[in-house]
Symmetry: C2
Subunit: 200 residues, 2 copies
DNA sequence: GTCTATAAAGGGATAGAC
DNA sequence: GTCTATCCCTTTATAGAC
């Protein structure tokens, strides 16, 4: 029953290698080794390294973005939304701490292609959260803030700590376990921080 | 008068290439080309690619870190500090938007060496800002927060927008000029956001 | 589909002349 | 110091047998 398809094994191995070493740093040989096959077979499934890379990249994007958008466009109250987004994202990234850098790197290298790939998933609709921020500001429960500023701040607080994980660990002198605990603490700290920052 | 030393030209070219493409992505040939010399001469000045890379990397770190630490350890009031750090960092990164990813990448690749290189500049002393946060909390002007949490949140808000510049530009549909304006607006928005978030 | 063997290109590094 | 020429290892990619 533990027989996995070759294609599946390739994708797993490639994901691990590309995420750890990036497009230029990863090696087809290592991917083949880790998948338990040889390079020739790897090329049988994926004509080129580039093709394999983008196959992985698209998977990763598809795995991340919909979660964010689904919560963002839900009809939950703003505060609940912030708490849920924080919880889901810290949970998700705790299992994949190298992912932010992987994605950010590729986007910096090929910004043009990114735009296409994002539009493929019919763009990102920000109207729900935008209206919500406006309504709350009119009610006086939060101060006025643009949806871009609100989102960029929140994403920064959620994602950056994982992108800078090594740096943080070195500066704060914490091991893996303590880092996990710290991120766990952020699940309540960050939403509080954000909602506080938005008070009128 | 426009005669630059070869070494200087090499460093300039290398900085540009390494920052844009990373250690593994950059090519010695391209660096030589851009410096207006050939590969042999490049190797005459720097025995290996790795040696050249770390020479550049150290320069970059030396260029960034002291600015942060100087303000952090000054005797300025907390709020002034936050405003100054924001202003200085957004100013600095606006001219070097690719730098965060460059540094973060290398740190993820060799966390061990990072620790050494950070200790070389006699580590980072957080006691001043730590005491300051404690004192302010006791006075009741801010709520209680650990120095690690405070700094990580601030750095996230300052650095991440540059690391995610391409992504943000794609999602928010803004061009270079609009991005600059947005970052200019953050110079006042971010400190306000932070100080607000710290209210009791 | 999967392998062995090998071609072909890429890219870091050095020898040696000037 | 600077160049041309070249080495040689690494890595991607393909040919061809099973």
């Amino acid at each position: 029953m533990s027989e996995e398809s070759t294609e599946k094994k390739i994708k797993e191995a490639a994901r691990i290698q590309f995420i750890k070493k990036g497009m230029t740093g990863a090696r087809m040989q290592e991917i083949a080794d880790q998948a338990g096959i040889n390079k020739a077979l790897l090329h049988y499934y994926y004509k080129s390294k580039e093709q394999l890379f983008y196959s992985i990249f698209d998977d990763v994007i598809q795995d991340m973005l919909p979660r964010l958008v689904a919560i963002l466009n839900s009809e939950l109250p703003l505060e609940v939304k912030v708490y849920q987004l924080t919880d889901k994202y810290i949970e998700f990234l705790s299992d994949r701490p190298e992912m932010p850098l992987f994605v950010l790197n590729e986007l910096q290298r090929h910004p043009e292609e990114l735009i296409q790939r994002l539009h493929l998933q019919k763009g990102i609709d920000l109207s729900v959260i935008k209206d919500q921020l406006k309504t709350e500001a009119e009610k006086g429960t939060i101060r006025e803030i643009s949806v871009e500023m609100f989102l960029l701040n929140m994403i920064s607080l959620l994602v950056f700590p994982f992108a800078a994980k090594s740096l943080f660990q070195a500066v704060a002198q914490v091991n893996e376990n303590q880092f996990s605990q710290f991120m766990e603490a952020r699940k309540t700290e960050v939403p509080k921080y954000i909602m506080n920052a938005l008070r009128p």
